[in-house]
């Protein structure tokens, strides 16, 4: 049969309401579905990320004191030193460190820095204290430069504390007139971000206080999820912090045993405290739980949207077939074969779906641009849109098939019925 496009398009232009519903439905579904899939893809990439640490062997220990003696910092410092010794002495402990850093906690401490001597660009970077066993506890080694020592952590703590315990004189621009210079270890990802040649060792960073950070080491792999995209950027500096927070790495297969003995060891050092332990795998699950929920929810949204759109097309096409029963009978009387009727409805639906897809593609990019500008969503991959278009075409055709087949079976004798 000659191309049906012309008459169908002309007929559709005279039935804008019905046509618009399908077009809009398809367009909105395509735009939302491909962006949902894109978000799921982003989330899956995040979920697939590895910290680079020996997560399965790590235990986070947080201690809260109720003994008033802990109100005195020197007393707390002495207990911390004993705690670290006690933890390292426990059988089954591969390494233990005092640090606030907990992999997969989904946040932490951060600072804004820039390359010393410049003012821009600025970089947001995670910052954590480290001692002589921080990297060993994480199961990583310093790839370039040097590691810290426990003695260095203690002496640095005392040095920085001495400076910051008093009001620091500042110049008109707010920077301390006697800046603190600390040595730091940064992640490779940050080195690549901050320095064009990727070489960070021997270079210095600066913050808004005017304090400087000399890079003495680089670690290869670091990842900690964060509220914004600084998950791979970190600097560690040598110090012992004020809180009783430890990270313990168990020897292979010893984690569960350690979980039973860690708190006893710490309470033996000082019983005036409450000890809370979490495995890093639990923290990771907790952290990723939200993303897993989002993935499942978006998956549900996609399924529901496609399902509702398919139902909508089935409903509208069914109504359209029922409404045009007599017209179909007339077409059959005039010589249309059953396949002509089937083709008519499928072509009509294909055209509407295609219009919807064209509009939906534009909407998808528009929606994606809004998501990219307001969140960490990535740009929409054209291949994703192509797949979405394919799915919508198939959905459109399959949804119209059953009503079209019903239309195909309408008898030509309907044409002569006058009621």
């Amino acid at each position: 049969m000659a191309s049906d496009f012309g008459p169908i398009l002309r007929a559709l232009s005279r039935n804008k309401a019905r046509a618009s519903i399908i077009v809009l439905e398809v367009a909105l579904t395509l735009a939302i579905v491909v962006n949902c899939v894109s978000l799921i893809k982003d989330a899956r990439l995040e979920l697939a990320k590895q910290s680079g640490f020996l997560d399965e062997d790590l235990i986070s220990v947080r201690v809260r004191a109720f003994d008033p003696a802990f109100n005195e910092q020197p007393f707390t410092d002495s207990v911390i030193a004993k705690d670290v010794e006690a933890l390292r002495a426990l059988p089954g402990v591969a390494a233990a460190t005092q640090t606030r850093f907990r992999p997969w906690q989904g946040g932490g401490s951060s600072n804004e820095v820039w390359i010393a001597g410049t003012k821009s660009p600025t970089f947001r970077i995670q910052t954590y204290a480290a001692d002589g066993q921080t990297f060993k506890s994480l199961g990583i080694t310093v790839a370039e430069g040097r590691d810290f020592t426990d003695d260095e952590a203690v002496s640095e703590r005392d040095r920085v504390r001495a400076v910051t315990s008093q009001n620091r004189p500042r110049s008109a621009d707010g920077r301390a007139t006697t800046p603190i210079v600390q040595e730091i270890v940064v992640s490779r990802a940050f080195a690549k971000l901050a320095f064009a040649d990727g070489v960070a060792l021997g270079k210095s960073l600066e913050d808004s206080d005017g304090d400087q950070y000399a890079i003495v080491g680089v670690i290869d792999r670091f990842y900690n999820p964060y509220a914004w995209n600084i998950g791979e950027y970190v600097m560690f500096y040598a110090t012992r912090s004020t809180g009783m927070q430890y990270l313990v790495r168990a020897e292979k297969g010893q984690r569960e045993t350690l979980l039973k003995s860690l708190d006893k060891a710490l309470l033996t050092v000082n019983p005036g405290r409450v000890v809370k332990m979490d495995t890093i795998q639990d923290l990771k699950l907790k952290n990723q739980g939200e993303q897993l929920f989002v993935v499942k929810m978006l998956g549900g949204v996609i399924f529901l949207l496609v399902f509702v759109t398919a139902l909508g097309i089935v409903g509208i096409t069914s109504f359209s077939v029922a409404e045009r029963t007599r017209h179909i009978g007339t077409r059959r009387a005039l010589g249309a074969q059953k396949t002509d009727i089937l083709r008519y409805f499928l072509t009509e639906n294909w055209l509407l779906t295609s219009f919807g897809i064209v509009i939906g593609s534009g909407l998808a990019f528009f929606l994606n641009a809004a998501l990219v500008s307001s969140s960490t969503a990535s740009r929409l991959a054209p291949v994703l849109l192509l797949v979405g278009m394919g799915i919508m075409w198939v959905t459109g055709i399959l949804s119209a098939l059953a009503p079209a087949l019903r239309g195909m079976r309408i008898e030509p004798a309907i044409a002569t019925r006058n009621v």
Partner: protein, 240 residues
């Protein structure tokens, strides 16, 4: 042109068996204008459906333009309808979303004609019914008489061997009905065979002969309108 012998059509439900056509025998020659009359329920529409290959039948033989159409597949029936039969319906049966051009184009599209040939035929047919100026009007923008003329143009464009008209003036006022009848007569004079179902004696009188159906049977297979009027009583009178 149209030869039916012993045609039977039975509608069955669980409880009732209705003989819509019962041993109908009819021979319409090429170029004839035959009126089929009968009251409501007499089998006129069933006769039209069977004659127009819109419906199958249960017994008898039917030859259309020399072709035995007793047992055809659905596809062949569609093709035969398209090529040999033109329909004029009481309710015009135009597609409301299509303009005059596209409505007349419909049967030609199903015949897989080229766009050029279709256009020539459409313009010629629409001109013959005097609606050239309304080519891109929708049915809703036309009067009843004009819509029926579009339906006639649709038939003319297909150039069928047989035209089946189902109460073609049933929905028209007197003036328009007369116009349509004149058009049909003109078409018949040009050689087309027309079988027209009607319950209006005035319309039937314009045909060359009339046959009368009663309870699915032909009760008078060869009456001219004058003969019809001369039968005042009995079944035939009731049929009228």
């Amino acid at each position: 042109m149209l030869k039916m012998t012993g045609i039977r059509k039975v509608y069955r439900t669980d409880l009732v068996e209705t003989h819509a056509l019962d041993d109908v025998t009819l021979d319409v020659k090429a170029g004839e204008f035959v009126a089929v009359m009968g009251r409501s329920g007499s089998g006129k529409t069933t006769f039209l459906n069977v004659a127009g290959l819109l419906d199958t039948f249960d017994g008898g033989t039917y030859t259309l333009d020399g072709m035995d159409v007793s047992r055809l597949s659905d596809a062949t029936m569609s093709r035969t309808r398209n090529e040999k039969i033109g329909f004029i319906f009481q309710s015009f049966n135009l597609i409301p979303d299509l303009d005059v051009f596209d409505n007349v184009d419909l049967p030609l599209r199903y015949r897989r004609m080229t766009a050029k040939e279709r256009k020539e035929r459409i313009l010629s047919a629409v001109e013959k019914v005097g609606l050239s100026s309304r080519l891109h009007h929708l049915p809703s923008q036309l009067s009843g008489g004009q819509q029926q003329r579009v339906a006639i143009a649709r038939v003319l464009a297909g150039d069928p061997r047989l035209i089946l008209a189902d109460e073609p003036t049933g929905n028209l006022d007197t003036l328009m009905a007369r116009e349509v009848m004149e058009l049909l007569l003109k078409i018949n004079e040009q050689g087309a065979t027309i079988v027209m179902v009607t319950h209006t004696p005035e319309c039937a009188a314009r045909a060359q002969r009339a046959i009368h159906l009663l309870d699915g049977r032909v009760v008078d297979g060869d009456s001219h309108f004058g003969h019809l009027r001369s039968v005042p009583t009995g079944a035939l009178a009731a049929a009228i």
